[in-house]
């Protein structure tokens, strides 16, 4: 699908962007995996006066990120842990480049929302959350928590595949309340 065809679909909702101050978000997959197309699409939206946002986990080159940032108003950055070993072991990638990308966004002056998936047994203890939040406070003033959910279970079953997170449940409400309190203690606003 060429950029102009996507833009045509985006344009249909223009009246709603105008009353809401909203715009277009390039979400997952991972827009930085297709940097040329994503950058062209974002540029086209911006040239038409439509605000833009990207959602990323930051596993990309600084050049790729830069090409998108140039045309982006808001970055929704997923940050899962500040523990380098855990990051390497569970996510299969080193932590340092991700941190560098977060800082790159912060330095670019774009609005940054750090989003923290809260996964039981992985990062839902106070120390893990606090390390993420104190870092987040260095780079932005707003954070969002995403409670891990089991909505994908049905799909795994239907596809006949094993659910790699089958043993993990959803976080207890108390954990999210504690996370919000930690965020506030770090001077962060919690977004919905």
């Amino acid at each position: 699908m060429p950029v102009h065809a996507v833009v045509q679909m985006i344009e249909r909702d223009r009246p709603f962007y105008e009353t809401s101050g909203g715009g277009v978000t390039l979400s997952g997959g991972e827009p930085t995996f297709q940097p040329e197309f994503a950058a062209a699409l974002l540029a086209e939206c911006r040239s038409r006066g439509i605000r833009t946002a990207i959602q990323t986990a930051g596993w990309c080159s600084s050049e790729a990120l830069e090409s998108l940032l140039r045309h982006t108003n808001l970055v929704l950055f997923d940050l899962k842990t500040m523990n380098p070993e855990q990051h390497q072991h569970v996510l299969g990638k080193p932590l340092a480049p991700v941190i560098a990308r977060v800082r790159q966004v912060a330095e670019s002056g774009r609005r940054l929302l750090v989003r923290v998936p809260v996964v039981p047994g992985f990062n839902d203890d106070g120390a893990s959350l606090d390390s993420i939040l104190s870092f987040a406070a260095e780079v932005t003033d707003q954070v969002a928590f995403i409670a891990y959910h089991r909505l994908g279970a049905a799909k795994y079953r239907r596809l006949g595949r094993e659910d790699p997170m089958g043993q993990t449940g959803e976080p207890r409400p108390g954990v999210l309340r504690h996370a919000a309190a930690l965020a506030a203690a770090n001077g962060l606003t919690v977004r919905a």
């Binding site: 909702d13 809401s20 959910h149």
Partner: protein
């Protein structure tokens, strides 16, 4: 909520829907036995006098506003008599009201009923002595005078009872309240209201008399924020009233609005034996003044708060929105809606434009409102509801069969409302259209569209003629007079009943139903028959006649491979617009002297069910006798691209031609969660209105809807729920996740 209101609300739900206003039945029987020979207008007035003179006065312990029927559980012996009497004396044609109107509340507050009575008496006394027309006018004025006096006398009996009760009440606070009520009932509705309390008492007393004594439903409370504001401001300034007192008085009235209509839903469980059962009572706030300024005031917000705080079935709050509306008020409306309050919003820009197009002067058009359900009118200036429900689906069926109805099935059991209140619906008619060509003559899609439009135009003209006969021979002939004329401008001066030329404006709603089903069907034919050629019209007709039996693959292709209204698809949306435009333009050409000028609407209310029952299988893949699309919206389960696409499709319809009708949009509470929720809702509605949208009733989806979606996923395919960070189609989630969302919806709605 004050403790008194909480107690009253609790008692409301403890009420027994088996009770009956037995005194009314007995009074009507007495009148008929004694005066049955009198001319109809006089008989009506005597009935009004007999009921109001003999009915009990009821004052309950927490009342601040007075007036209610004494409804009682009948003994076995009385039940037997009720069964015997009810055919003749429960809803007799000689004492009949259609309800469905808004009285001129401003006139009631400014003049009072005694002024109306005296004017009627003076006109009767000075009218020319002879001539049939003069005699008719005189009869009308005399009846008006008797009715007004009857209501004032009833109010005086309430005043006496409240005073007596006050004298025997030891608690000084309650005694003072009773004395205040006695003074108010002594004053209004006979004389002009001097305070906010008197104004609310006056309006409520008439509303109660209309609902319970005259006996009908869907009278509206009107634009209360406009009507009550002068006295509210005056009392607030003199410290005679606080904001909280005003809320308490309004809530006292709102609770009473619910008491006599029954707690059960009469569509599903018609327990209550009352003529005002389930009365839908609109309360309209916001909008514009006659000069076009924002009419929002403190009372608009106060009404909103009072309704939102109570969360009862009535009143139905409607907000009139326009670009200059007070932002703080509008924000409060959006916040209430996202918390689950049921509020309808009309777009002034579109409704007023459509009224101007109908020849209504600008200042009058700015005073528009709707009464239940979604019926447009000019309050206090029109007769009672006149309407006709068309089925565009039937027009399509007739076009595919050269004018012969291929599915001449009538619903075997009509819903109660139609039996009780609306004998004039189309269901007793035989549908037959003009010959518009056999299928082999319909060589191009344009030929087919021409045939469908010819059927639509014919159906509109046929219905106008049908209704004209009905009104002349039946409705108007059998109902020469009703008390409501006392509260409609111009009737007294003209000496005519509101339904017989007394009111300034008279209109008839012509509603088109099944629009999206018809458009989807035509889009399917266009693609399958005329463009891709994998289906012939003759073959399609056979498949439809067989209700797709043995043709499931064809049905699935029609369902899934052809565009559907509600997805912002210009092709099918264009067909819908074309059909709607054809319908509206045809309606606009009719201005019948008997039924009035014809106002078009794209609307079904819940009649989409029987439109469906009367229609065979349709080319969009719908099976015979199943429901069609509702109102202005897509066929349930066919809009798959979210609410903005649905609203975009609807905004393409010629809504600037339709002052009435409406549309419900269902959203899950999580879509509007968080502190920005009200703003998001506001943006959605205002973007739709800026594109030409007419009305929205946002339903924050209830747990019940979600449970229904679990039971019938095909009809709920488009139901979007928001899961943290992304949206999912509810029916694609597994049972456990669905259950969790149901639990979430339940929590979200509980306050």
């Amino acid at each position: 909520m004050r403790a008194r209101i909480a107690r009253m609300k609790e008692r409301l739900f403890a009420a027994d829907d088996r009770t009956v206003f037995w005194e009314r039945v007995l009074a009507l029987r007495r009148v008929h036995q004694e005066h049955g020979h009198e001319p109809p207008t006089r008989l009506y007035a005597l009935a009004m006098r007999e009921i109001t003179a003999t009915m009990s006065v009821v004052i309950e312990e927490d009342d601040l506003i007075l007036g209610q029927p004494k409804e009682v559980l009948l003994s076995a012996e009385e039940e037997a008599r009720f069964a015997e009497y009810s055919a003749a004396y429960f809803h007799p044609s000689w004492f009949y009201s259609r309800g469905h109107m808004t009285p001129a509340w401003d006139m009631l507050l400014e003049r009072g009923l005694l002024a109306v009575q005296h004017e009627a008496e003076a006109r009767a006394a000075s009218s020319a002595p002879d001539g049939a027309a003069a005699a008719q006018c005189r009869e009308f004025w005399e009846a008006i005078a008797v009715c007004c006096q009857s209501v004032v006398s009833l109010s005086a009996r309430y005043a006496d009872a409240a005073a007596r009760l006050a004298a025997s009440t030891p608690d000084p606070a309650r005694r003072a309240e009773l004395e205040r009520m006695a003074a108010a009932c002594r004053r209004v509705p006979g004389l002009p209201a001097r305070s906010f309390h008197e104004a609310v008492q006056s309006i409520w007393f008439l509303d109660f008399v209309l609902h319970a004594v005259c006996g009908a439903r869907d009278y509206s409370a009107g634009r209360l924020d406009q009507i009550l504001f002068p006295l509210y401001r005056q009392d607030l300034a003199s410290a005679a009233l606080t904001r909280e007192d005003a809320v308490e008085l309004l809530q006292s009235m709102f609770i009473k609005m619910n008491a006599f209509i029954g707690i059960h839903d009469h569509y599903t469980s018609p327990v209550k034996r009352s003529l005002c059962r389930d009365s839908v009572q609109y309360l309209v706030v916001g909008g514009q003044t006659a000069e076009g300024r924002d009419a929002t005031n403190e009372l608009s917000l106060l009404c909103l708060d009072a309704v939102d705080d109570l969360r009862l079935k009535e009143p139905n709050l409607t907000v009139r929105h326009h670009p200059r509306i007070d932002r703080a008020f509008w924000g409060s409306v959006c916040d209430a809606v996202r918390r689950g309050a049921s509020i309808g919003v009309y777009n002034d820009e579109v409704v007023i434009a459509s009224l101007l197009n109908l020849g209504i002067p600008l200042e009058a058009a700015r005073g528009y409102m709707h009464y239940g359900c979604c019926n447009p009118h000019l309050p206090g200036q029109e007769p009672q509801l006149r309407e006709y429900q068309h089925s565009l689906v039937k027009c399509l069926e007739l076009a595919l069969t050269n004018g012969r109805d291929p599915y001449p099935v009538k619903p075997d059991r009509l819903e109660n409302e139609f039996r009780d209140h609306s004998p004039e619906y189309s269901v007793d008619e035989v549908f037959a259209g003009p010959p518009t060509g056999e299928v082999e003559d319909l060589k191009t899609f344009e030929d087919l569209m021409r045939a469908v439009k010819a059927q639509i135009r014919h159906d509109v003209a046929r219905a106008v003629a049908f209704k004209r006969r009905y009104y002349e021979d039946d409705y108007l002939a059998r109902r020469p007079f009703c008390f409501e004329s006392a509260l409609v401008h111009d009737c007294i001066v003209r000496g005519k009943d509101l339904n017989h030329g007394g009111a300034r404006y008279v209109h008839h709603n012509s509603y088109a139903g099944g629009l999206a089903t018809t458009a989807d069907s035509l889009a399917a034919i266009k693609r399958a028959v005329y463009e891709e050629g994998w289906l012939s019209l003759a073959d399609l007709r056979e498949a439809l006649a067989a209700n797709f039996s043995g043709r499931e693959i064809l049905r699935q292709r029609l369902l899934n491979q052809c565009p559907k209204f509600g997805n912002d698809d210009d092709e099918v949306d264009g067909i819908a617009r074309d059909l709607a435009e054809c319908f509206c333009r045809e309606v606009l050409t009719h201005r019948d002297p008997v039924i009035g000028s014809c106002w078009p609407g794209l609307y079904t209310y819940h009649r989409f069910k029987w439109i469906g029952q009367m229609s065979g299988a349709t080319p969009d893949g719908r099976l015979a006798a199943t429901p069609t699309s509702e109102n202005q919206g897509p066929t349930p389960g066919r809009a798959l691209l979210g609410p903005t696409a649905t609203l975009r499709s609807m905004a393409k319809l010629p809504l600037h031609l339709t002052p009435g009708g409406g549309q419900t949009l269902t959203l899950h509470p999580t879509l509007l969660a968080g502190p920005e929720g009200p703003e998001h809702l506001s943006s959605l509605i205002e973007a739709y209105f800026a594109q030409g949208g007419q009305h929205l009733q946002i339903n924050i989806v209830s747990a019940d809807t979600l449970r229904a979606a679990q039971q019938d996923p095909e009809a709920h395919r488009g139901l979007v729920v928001r899961v943290t960070g992304y949206s999912a189609y509810f029916v694609t989630l597994d049972r456990q996740s669905q259950d969790r969302l149901i639990a979430g919806a339940t929590n979200c709605l509980a306050r």
